[in-house]
């Protein structure tokens, strides 16, 4: 190869597709429904009820949960236990978890035309990791391979209510849940109040930025569930599951075949 010639660049996705992701609807035939909210907001309970309802209605429903991929589960656990994590590594490890689950459990059923329910989505990282100190643009870019959910519920709850629910359900608040790694307060409850208070502020901004549906998480459980079902019914009105099968060869494969393998 002549050194005077600049080597050819592999193709990049067209700009309009690069911008798609979290700000525009995804092109797939399935439906992605997610829930967000701080610990103790009741979002998991609601999503579980929704899952059972949709399955009973005969829909094909898949479910995935934040921080459940086997790839980094042990690493995150060990890192948290021994306090080895920095805000940046904490953030990246959770994105590894998400990237793995996205490729395995979210994207395939979405393309195949099924319904996917996610307990927490990228917005959890946007809220928490920014409070821990990483740059908001950086964390948004890291998750920019994710698709925009068809419907996102944000369960809004005052700190004291969530604190009470957590303490009723189990014995203690978890170290990272209270943001104790940030050294905000020596008392775990106070630290929880400060940390989750800041997370709430971020969630408020995010709900607006990404158009999440805000749920009043202090109302009775059946009431919230009825509202959720009404929204989801509306979403599924024109839902005709049909898999995507006409998938093209990725352009970068053709590029390297033509330019490199001589």
């Amino acid at each position: 190869m002549s050194p005077a010639l600049a080597p050819p660049m592999p193709p990049q996705l067209p700009t309009h597709l690069l911008r798609a992701s979290l700000h525009e609807a995804h092109p797939y035939t399935g439906k992605l429904i997610i829930v967000e909210g701080i610990d103790g907001s009741g979002k998991s309970t609601q999503l579980d009820l929704l899952k059972k309802f949709l399955r009973s209605e005969g829909y094909t429903v898949f479910y995935t949960e934040w921080n459940s991929s086997v790839i980094v589960k042990e690493t995150i656990k060990r890192g948290k236990k021994k306090n080895l994590l920095t805000p940046t590594t904490f953030s990246i490890l959770h994105s590894v978890d998400f990237a793995d689950r996205f490729a395995r459990y979210i994207l395939p059923p979405l393309k195949a035309g099924a319904i996917v329910l996610a307990d927490r989505y990228v917005f959890t990282a946007f809220a928490r990791d920014v409070v821990r100190g990483v740059h908001p643009d950086w964390v948004r870019n890291m998750y920019s391979f994710a698709v925009r959910p068809d419907m996102g519920f944000y369960f809004s709850v005052p700190i004291d209510v969530s604190l009470k629910r957590i303490l009723n359900g189990r014995a203690a608040i978890k170290f990272h849940e209270a943001g104790m790694d940030l050294g905000l307060h020596t008392d775990i409850r106070e630290s929880f109040r400060i940390f989750q208070g800041r997370v709430l502020e971020q969630y408020d901004k995010i709900s607006e930025e990404y158009g999440l549906t805000i749920m009043d998480a202090t109302t009775p459980i059946p009431e919230q569930q009825a509202i959720m079902r009404a929204y989801v019914r509306q979403l599924l009105k024109d839902y005709h599951p049909k898999p995507f099968v006409d998938v093209p060869e990725p352009s970068f494969i053709a590029f390297y075949r033509d330019h490199i393998e001589t």
């Binding site: 798609a20 992701s21 990237a99 793995d100 490729a103 920019s144 990725p250």
Partner: protein, 269 residues
């Protein structure tokens, strides 16, 4: 855009897409700055050491040169720390374990490298630079860039993920032709003969170093060649984009090559 419909984000590169805006050009070398947004929560104004990166594909002799430079710098009175890819205490065996499963996609792969890199950067490299050490990095984020991009990851996305990365004071890229590299990779394990004598079975070519996750040929050798050619191409692109000091390693004499490395390094110390 009639052609664009053919490239809807419904195959591998699509998952890896996307930033919402063009990223700003990374700052030039020789400035202690970050590649992107950096690490907003730590101070890095007082980095008195130097960060020197040695990049190059497998078989180019990086590790040999890094070892020689380490000794040379110490004899010259510099405190030296060496660091390499996937050596972080946090990730430990996690990357090797994940690779064994052969089920990583390009995003997961890239992010795992980023986590390892961030851990070493914050816990080893930055503290060493603050203490005035010369840090020799046997590979840096550029290797992760190349590995991700040849697998179809979006260039802007990858650069963005590593936005916390510190700009090195100097990046030396060791270059060689593919035919030289093949020969060296197959002979690169000095313990090979002893292990063979002992009756051990040894893989001559590594699954991942051969890009076998993409099956780029009929057998592991063919895949290795095609994969390494792609990496070389990406390094050529990056040499221009990031202004690497390119050093040819085609000639056989290692000492001669090392002398040239020393000259480039001396100029920045």
């Amino acid at each position: 855009m009639a052609e664009a419909t053919n490239e809807l984000p419904i195959e591998i590169p699509a998952d890896t897409a996307a930033v919402t805006k063009p990223r700003r050009r990374p700052a030039r070398r020789h400035e202690k700055l970050f590649f992107g947004e950096g690490l907003p929560y730590i101070g890095v104004q007082d980095l008195s050491g130097k960060l020197i990166v040695i990049e190059g594909t497998d078989g180019v002799g990086r590790t040999t040169h890094v070892d020689a430079l380490h000794k040379w710098l110490e004899l010259d009175g510099y405190a030296v720390m060496t660091t390499g890819l996937t050596r972080s205490p946090l990730l430990g065996e996690a990357i090797e374990e994940a690779k064994k499963g052969h089920s990583l996609n390009v995003n997961t792969f890239t992010l795992l490298y980023a986590a390892d890199f961030a851990d070493r950067l914050e816990n080893q490299i930055v503290p060493a630079l603050k203490a005035g050490f010369v840090v020799l990095a046997d590979r840096y984020m550029y290797t992760a860039f190349a590995r991700a991009i040849v697998r179809g990851a979006d260039r802007n996305w990858v650069h963005g993920v590593f936005g916390f990365g510190l700009q090195p004071d100097l990046v030396i890229y060791l270059d060689a032709e593919i035919d030289t590299l093949v020969h060296r990779v197959l002979n690169s394990d000095p313990e090979y003969w002893a292990m063979e004598e002992a009756g051990a079975t040894i893989e001559l070519l590594d699954y991942w170093e051969s890009g076998m996750d993409m099956r780029l040929g009929r057998d592991i050798y063919d895949s290795f060649i095609n994969y390494q050619k792609r990496l070389l191409h990406e390094f050529k692109l990056m040499s221009e984009e990031f202004g690497f000091a390119v050093i040819e390693t085609e000639q056989e004499d290692v000492d001669e090559i090392n002398k040239r490395l020393r000259k480039v390094i001396k100029a920045i110390l």
